[in-house]
């Protein structure tokens, strides 16, 4: 037999080498299929990197943003992903502070998602604010009376916390853990992760709140302005509560999506039910408080600022429907769906409920950023319209592509779902099979 014919094909050889990096017991697609999956995301990432270069090289003039509409698609993206990424801190809170052991099944995935959401948001902020080489200035000369300063500090520190939390997951890779020092470091760091989770909760509480607070304190924007307690407007508390409510829902959605794409079961149904119930309870509380807050604003705050509230909804396309959608369609409906065990346990109800809940909070962040800035506040002001251009969409796409790429790599090479191995054993929950 010829020597060349004796050699295994190159693809098989690559698969064999790559197999050494994938945790034992986990089935993954071939390297070729994986490369095919990654290709479009890499192209999207490349386009975004080019658009980012244009922004940093030539300034925001290359975007559709201007002096009147300084915050646009990107700030909406920031607020949305930070709210959705709250699953990381909230699942850490449930697992390490409240000791809900079942959350272990999704905690690694939640940490990776949180890391991606926050690092993506930071990247976009760096492009939006511009002059990233001067970013140290914010930290060295902070304006301690600004909520945005507090947000900057909290998000930066929380990203450090998430990086520390990501490390043990990374070091548990099959090949990396063969290095004894890495393995021991992973173990020792893992033992101290509850401390990080506690710090993460503190930082998240304040930056999620301050992100809402910085809109609520704007007297010059009566559409967003709210009264509150001490220095905190009600939007501070509503942002914290809404982020905590949708964090578990975002974990449900991403896990279900990965399950669909990979045709595998990753977590037990009971976990989905727990996460869904948690969203249901918190979303109910959020919607109740938001309804009260909206009623107070409609009947008092807005009039005190010299505006009849219905005037805001005369500017199309931002009609009254947006308020109805936010509170009823994407608030009360998913809250009821996820709260009721009878509805929640129906096929597809968890996914639909989680999707509506996440959409509701994303819509809320859109209202607080885009709608707030579009509405006129002075008699000579005009209603502003804003349509992002390709550069903004490309940078937006870059963050999505970055998240998909890193999450795909993490899923492939790290054991993000500890129950996957068990559930893939003949698709039987062997843990529950009676042995006698």
């Amino acid at each position: 037999m010829a020597a060349s014919a004796m050699k295994p094909p190159m693809a098989a050889e690559i698969a064999k080498i790559e197999r050494q990096w994938i945790a034992r017991g986990l089935e993954r697609c071939s390297p070729l299929v994986f490369a095919g999956w990654m290709a479009p995301w890499l192209i999207m990432l490349g386009a975004g990197v080019y658009a980012s270069y244009l922004c940093l090289r030539y300034g925001l003039g290359v975007t559709a943003l201007d002096n009147r509409f300084g915050f646009g698609l990107w700030i909406f993206l920031d607020l949305a992903v930070i709210a959705l990424g709250a699953g990381a801190f909230f699942s850490g809170f449930l697992l390490y502070i409240l000791k809900w052991k079942e959350i272990k099944a999704v905690i690694s995935s939640a940490v990776v998602l949180g890391f991606l959401c926050y690092s993506g948001a930071m990247a976009v902020l760096a492009i939006d604010v511009g002059q990233p080489l001067r970013s140290w200035f914010t930290f060295w000369h902070p304006n301690v009376h600004s909520m945005l300063t507090e947000v900057t500090f909290c998000i930066t520190f929380y990203l450090i916390v998430l990086t520390v939390e990501y490390l043990p997951i990374l070091l548990k890779n099959r090949r990396i853990k063969q290095v004894p020092s890495f393995l021991v470091f992973e173990w020792e760091l893992h033992k101290l992760i509850p401390v990080m989770a506690g710090i993460g909760c503190l930082l998240s509480f304040f930056h999620q709140g301050s992100l809402g607070g910085l809109f609520g304190v704007m007297r010059g924007r009566p559409f967003a302005f709210r009264e509150g307690f001490a220095i905190w407007p009600t939007t501070f508390f509503l942002f914290v509560l809404s982020a905590a409510a949708v964090g578990p829902s975002f974990i449900i959605l991403t896990t279900k999506l990965v399950e669909k794409i990979t045709s595998k079961r990753l977590v037990k149904e009971q976990i989905y039910q727990t996460l869904a119930r948690t969203t249901g309870v918190l979303l109910t509380a959020y919607i109740a408080l938001k309804s009260v807050d909206t009623l107070i604003w409609l009947n008092s705050t807005s009039f005190n600022a010299g505006f009849a509230p219905w005037e805001y909804y005369e500017w199309k396309p931002f009609g009254g429907w947006i308020l109805f959608a936010e509170i009823v369609v994407f608030g009360m409906v998913p809250a009821l769906m996820l709260l009721s065990k009878r509805i929640r346990t129906r096929r597809g109800a968890v996914v639909l409920g989680a999707l509506l809940a996440c959409a509701g909070v994303v819509l809320n962040r859109f209202v607080m950023t885009i709608q707030t800035l579009a509405l006129p506040t002075l008699s000579f002001d005009e209603f502003m319209t804003y349509t992002p251009n390709w550069v903004e969409f490309a940078v937006f796409g870059m963050v999505i592509a970055y998240a998909v790429i890193v999450y795909s790599l993490s899923y492939r090479y790290l054991n993000l779902f500890p129950q996957e191995k068990e559930l893939s054993a003949g698709n039987v929950e062997v843990n529950d099979v009676p042995v006698r």
């Binding site: 034992r24 301690v144 710090i199 054993a425």
Partner: protein, 272 residues
């Protein structure tokens, strides 16, 4: 930010800001420092192996972590949370005295001599009259590996630690670590062609082998292992069939080359 930086004022806001974020940064730094310090302390060969076992034990599924008393029929579903170290387990002596329900002792056609102690990583230990311990691969372990392509045994004089690396074997390009069942110093080595793999001198004069399986537990364990093996080698898309009768083949990788042996070895030899 700091008192020496232009713009800082000794006001409540500045001091509170500096204090809160200073504490947060200090806690993050302290966490990393403590982890690194402990890593430096625990990275010695024996300790690192112990840490590896602790870490990997937590990756085992509930089915793999079944308590020995569950396997022996002394108690209902019970998982071990003690890294299979019954020497440190407070519940073990109580459960060991429980008489099990009626239980047929069988090793399903496999050879598991009753004069040996068994480790769940497919090894056995036999106490010799001169105080040394002989370590070998169980019958199921031998059938799983068949004729290994390569075996790396420790040299005489090296120390092995219970649940740490005993030796490694490779078959069909898949390498697997075989866990040592006891602490000891290697005084002789055998191999696949020999009756045993290691002969060790225990590190303690009277070694405590309470963490190893014996008697009824072995029967329950072998049955559980065979069930698990059947699920593992069942082709994707089909259901594991519960065959009755017959004995497992001598060289399983040769008999069923299409199975995912990387996964099978990982689970059967407890090397996740």
């Amino acid at each position: 930010m700091f008192p020496f930086v232009d713009g800082f004022h000794w006001t409540f806001g500045h001091v509170l800001f500096l204090t809160v974020f200073g504490i947060v940064l200090a806690v993050i730094a302290a966490t990393l420092m403590v982890s690194l310090r402990r890593t430096a302390r625990e990275s010695k060969p024996g300790r690192a192996e112990a840490v590896r076992w602790k870490s990997e034990f937590h990756d085992l599924t509930g089915y793999e972590r079944r308590c020995r008393h569950d396997l022996a029929g002394r108690v209902g579903h019970r998982h071990c949370h003690n890294e299979f170290d019954c020497r440190e387990c407070e519940t073990h002596p109580k459960l060991a005295s429980v008489t099990a329900a009626e239980f047929d002792f069988s090793t399903y056609g496999l050879d598991y001599p009753v004069d040996r102690f068994y480790h769940r990583g497919q090894t056995w230990v036999k106490c010799e009259s001169d105080g040394t311990l002989t370590v070998g691969l169980t019958d199921l372990g031998k059938r799983l590996l068949g004729r290994p392509d390569r075996v790396n045994l420790p040299n005489a004089g090296e120390k092995v630690f219970a649940n740490g690396r005993g030796w490694t074997a490779a078959r069909g390009g898949v390498e697997v670590r075989i866990l040592a069942p006891v602490d000891g110093e290697v005084i002789a080595t055998g191999g696949p062609e020999s009756e045993f793999y290691l002969r060790v001198k225990p590190l303690e004069a009277n070694p405590n082998l309470a963490h190893l399986l014996r008697g009824q537990e072995v029967s329950g364990w072998v049955r559980a292992q065979l069930e698990q093996l059947q699920i593992l080698v069942t082709p994707a898309g089909s259901t594991a069939s519960l065959a009755d009768g017959g004995v497992l083949m001598e060289d399983l990788p040769k008999a069923q080359p299409e199975a995912n042996w990387d996964k099978v070895y990982g689970e059967m030899f407890m090397a996740p």
